[in-house]
């Protein structure tokens, strides 16, 4: 029954409708109605996605739905078309599923907002879901880019949701602009592709890349350039070095937003894009290496920073950056499936963690500094348990979901080179350490907040806890779709599922024994780390950071560096142009002409002395000169 695919356009359309309804009616609709509409549309498209997912399973070739020509100039045709295949359908599930939960969560979390702002919030969320769906469903790079910029816009709007706060707006601008830098690279990549292929449809591009279309061809440089440019685009969206600094600041937005956009979905767009164009990437080893190294570096850097952060959301933000780094490492080592797998699991547990932190903040009436928390485990059981699950999942302890995906990544890293593996493992350990630091500081020990904070402490309402529970369950079982071959033959269902899109490279080169050793090693070390964290932070008293700790607390001063080197110098230069070049040089020249004319007039005037004698003298002299020239120069 194809009809699910025929109406696939409904999936993005419903959220769009939700956006319009909530956006226009935000003044008139009641909060409850807004919540129903907002979450309802997403739920609907979630249902659609499941339906689509069912159908996609068996397909070998992607289904492309062509609606109209977005741009048609000469032989360049850019259709407005959707493409549904295994990869995109998987992402559809994640986006709409997690999205729906977070909508539900928001209904209660944002309930204190004024009504019209409440409506604004939900319309933004729906708009985001719409753009994200556009991004993953686009059948060519341009449609993908439209979604790409769309999600950027929504993140901008949602980060600056509390627009009275200038700091938040600055953070929003920062996010948008940094994304734009990446987007430019993305655009140039698109143009490059057009100049070589003539259009941007995934199928045609990959066909050309595979050399199935003989007339047009990519040279090696083309591939490298295009893939690199695309990757730069990805670094912007997925917060990799050097464009990662916006993500921590993006925590200015409401917590559900951080959960949905800056943890579960948007930031994984980069991974999606690269996985989508895996054909191209596989053809350029240079890019692959770069991707791997950048990913690993980011993972490590972010993890180190996360060690010393005290804002509960900042910690999670850096852990997100770090996890994204892991995913890029996977991509770089050619383990696209592992990357996508980790995207999924990460979506579950990171969303869980963020929502948990949200619940905590909610309970602490806005307090975000973990140094002022502690001992909440007694007050809010569900939150604590789910949060704990999340931490275990991210730390990667079997059989929680994080373990499987991370293990796959580590394995592929090991295959590439043991060094990579070593660093990756180290990072993983750091992850475990800082996550449990967070956990212990928040939930164990004594309460360190103010009295009336203590008085207000309470478990969050159902609308918040239910999504937590659901996500917790998912974080536990989510890993079983990708059980390594060593445990169970054909356990890697996700790999099998994605096979039509991502060609599985042949079986692993490492022997099973080594694989077991690696797993054991990582697991034991992680547990050791957790225990270490327990002893260190069980009962915490604040101390002034110094030395490396201070550097870490200040995020290696990267923000300051950027500010000095780029922002400030640009401002200086702009000011220089404005006040010197524009005023004095260019305009000075223009006005100079006028001044010169005026001056000439003033001087020439003096020739008109009023004396008859001098007049005649001048006349006679000019006559003499002309005669002289005429008769002596002519000869």
């Amino acid at each position: 029954m194809q009809n699910a695919l025929q109406i696939v356009y409904l999936i993005p359309l419903l959220p769009l409708i939700g956006f319009l309804v909530n956006g226009l009616g935000r003044k008139h609709l009641s909060k409850s109605l807004i919540s129903v509409i907002g979450s309802g549309v997403v739920l609907a498209s979630f249902a659609m996605s499941i339906w689509v997912f069912m159908q996609v399973k068996g397909m070998t070739t992607p289904y492309v739905a062509h609606y109209f020509d977005f741009i048609k100039v000469g032989d360049l045709k850019i259709p407005f078309a959707f493409q549904v295949d295994q990869l995109s359908s998987l992402f559809l599930l994640i986006i709409t599923g997690v999205g729906f939960l977070i909508h539900v969560y928001s209904t209660s979390y944002m309930h204190k907002e004024k009504q019209e702002h409440f409506g604004r919030y939900f319309s933004y969320l729906n708009l985001f879901v719409f753009s994200m769906l556009l991004l993953v469903m686009g059948a060519n790079y341009v449609i993908m880019f439209i979604g790409w910029e769309g999600v950027g816009l929504c993140s901008y709007l949602l980060i600056g949701y509390w627009f009275k706060n200038t700091e938040y707006n600055k953070a929003a601008n920062k996010a948008f602009i940094m994304n734009r830098i990446g987007d430019l690279a993305f655009l140039i990549a698109i143009f490059w592709i057009i100049s070589r292929v003539g259009n941007v449809n995934f199928n045609d591009v990959f066909a050309v890349a595979r050399g199935e279309v003989d007339l047009r061809k990519f040279t090696g440089t083309d591939i490298t350039a295009i893939t690199l440019l695309l990757f730069i685009g990805a670094t912007g969206k997925s917060a990799q070095i050097p464009l990662y600094t916006w993500l921590p600041d993006a925590m200015a937005g409401p917590t559900p937003v951080s959960a949905l956009i800056h943890a579960a979905t948007m930031v994984t767009a980069g991974i999606y894009m690269i996985a989508r164009s895996n054909v191209l990437y596989s053809m350029s080893s240079v890019t692959m290496d770069i991707v791997a190294y950048v990913g690993l570096a980011t993972a490590l850097l972010a993890a180190t920073i996360a060690l010393k952060q005290n804002d509960i959301k900042k910690v999670l933000a850096y852990s997100t950056v770090s996890q994204l780094g892991f995913m890029f490492l996977a991509l770089g080592t050619g383990a696209y499936v592992a990357a996508v797998f980790h995207v999924m699991t990460h979506a579950f547990f990171k969303a869980l963690l963020f929502l948990g932190s949200g619940s905590v903040i909610h309970a602490m009436s806005g307090e975000q500094d973990i140094r002022n928390m502690g001992g909440l485990s007694t007050k809010m059981k569900i939150t604590f348990v789910t949060f704990l699950i999340g931490c275990i999942a991210i730390a990667g302890i079997p059989p929680f979901s994080g373990f499987f995906s991370k293990d796959a990544i580590l394995l592929s890293a090991f295959e590439k080179s043991p060094v990579l593996y070593g660093i990756a493992l180290f990072t993983a350990l750091l992850t475990a350490f800082y996550m449990f630091r967070l956990l212990f500081l928040t939930f164990s020990g004594q309460f360190r907040g103010t009295a009336e904070q203590k008085h207000h402490l309470h478990e969050s309402p159902v609308a918040i806890t239910i999504p937590l529970i659901v996500l917790a369950v998912l974080s536990i079982i989510g890993g079983f779709v990708g059980i390594p071959e060593v445990f169970m033959n054909g356990g890697d269902r996700i790999g099998a599922f994605l096979a039509p899109v991502i060609k599985p490279q042949g079986g692993h080169t490492v022997s099973h024994s080594t694989e077991y050793i690696l797993m054991g090693l990582s697991t034991t070390l992680v547990i050791v780390m957790i225990i270490a964290a327990w002893f260190k932070f069980r009962n915490f008293q604040r101390t002034e950071e110094k030395g490396l700790g201070k550097v870490l607390e200040n995020k290696w001063y990267v923000d300051e560096l950027y500010d000095k080197v780029i922002v400030q110098s640009m401002h200086q230069f702009g000011g220089f142009l404005k006040s010197v070049i524009e005023k004095s040089v260019i305009d000075g020249l223009v006005n100079g002409v006028g001044k010169a004319v005026n001056y000439g007039g003033r001087q020439l005037r003096l020739l008109q002395s009023g004396q008859v004698g001098s007049y005649i003298l001048l006349m006679v002299l000019s006559i003499v000169i002309i005669f002289a020239l005429q008769f002596f120069l002519r000869k």
């Binding site: 004698g613 001098s614 003298l617 006679v620 002299l621 006559i623 003499v624 005669f627 008769f631």
Partner: protein, 166 residues
């Protein structure tokens, strides 16, 4: 060196000398007188060229009427040498130099024209006689002649407009 040439040279020297005196003499009255001398010598040239009519008219109109008019005016304003202050020396020099240059360039320009070996017919050729001129004037040149009357008319009107006391 026949008599004509002697006369020519004599008259030329007189003309130039008196002309120089016109522009150098301090007293305006002297200038006028010297100018009259110049006119007479030019009339001499006319006679030499056998243009009697012009010679006579020159003496009557110019030396007679016009210069007398000048003389009257000068007397009327009783200008004499101290009434005319001197120009700045350098301006004078500049003027003299400019005029000299003009003379030079024109002489240089005209010294070797292709008509330089042509002759001006002297003391014969009767076109200069009143009879011929009159005939021409009242046949061929009657229109310009009448037009010149308009000129006089306008000059007269002008003189009245300017001169009349209000």
């Amino acid at each position: 060196m026949n008599i004509t040439q002697i006369l020519f040279w004599f008259l030329s020297v007189v003309a130039i000398f008196s002309a120089l005196m016109v522009i150098t003499s301090k007293n305006p009255v002297y200038s006028v007188l010297w100018l009259i001398v110049t006119f007479f010598s030019i009339s001499g040239h006319y006679i030499l060229l056998n243009a009697q009519f012009l010679a006579i008219v020159n003496i009557i109109v110019y030396a007679g009427a016009i210069m007398v008019l000048f003389l009257f005016v000068i007397m009327l304003m009783n200008l004499n040498n101290e009434t005319e202050p001197q120009k700045h020396r350098w301006l004078k020099m500049a003027g003299a130099v400019a005029g000299g240059c003009l003379l030079l360039v024109m002489v240089a320009a005209l010294k070797d024209t292709d008509i330089k070996n042509q002759q001006a017919m002297v003391n014969e050729g009767n076109i200069g006689l009143i009879k011929n001129l009159g005939k021409e004037l009242f046949t061929t040149y009657v229109v310009p002649f009448e037009i010149s009357s308009i000129l006089f008319l306008s000059a007269m009107v002008g003189a009245v407009v300017i001169g009349k006391k209000e």
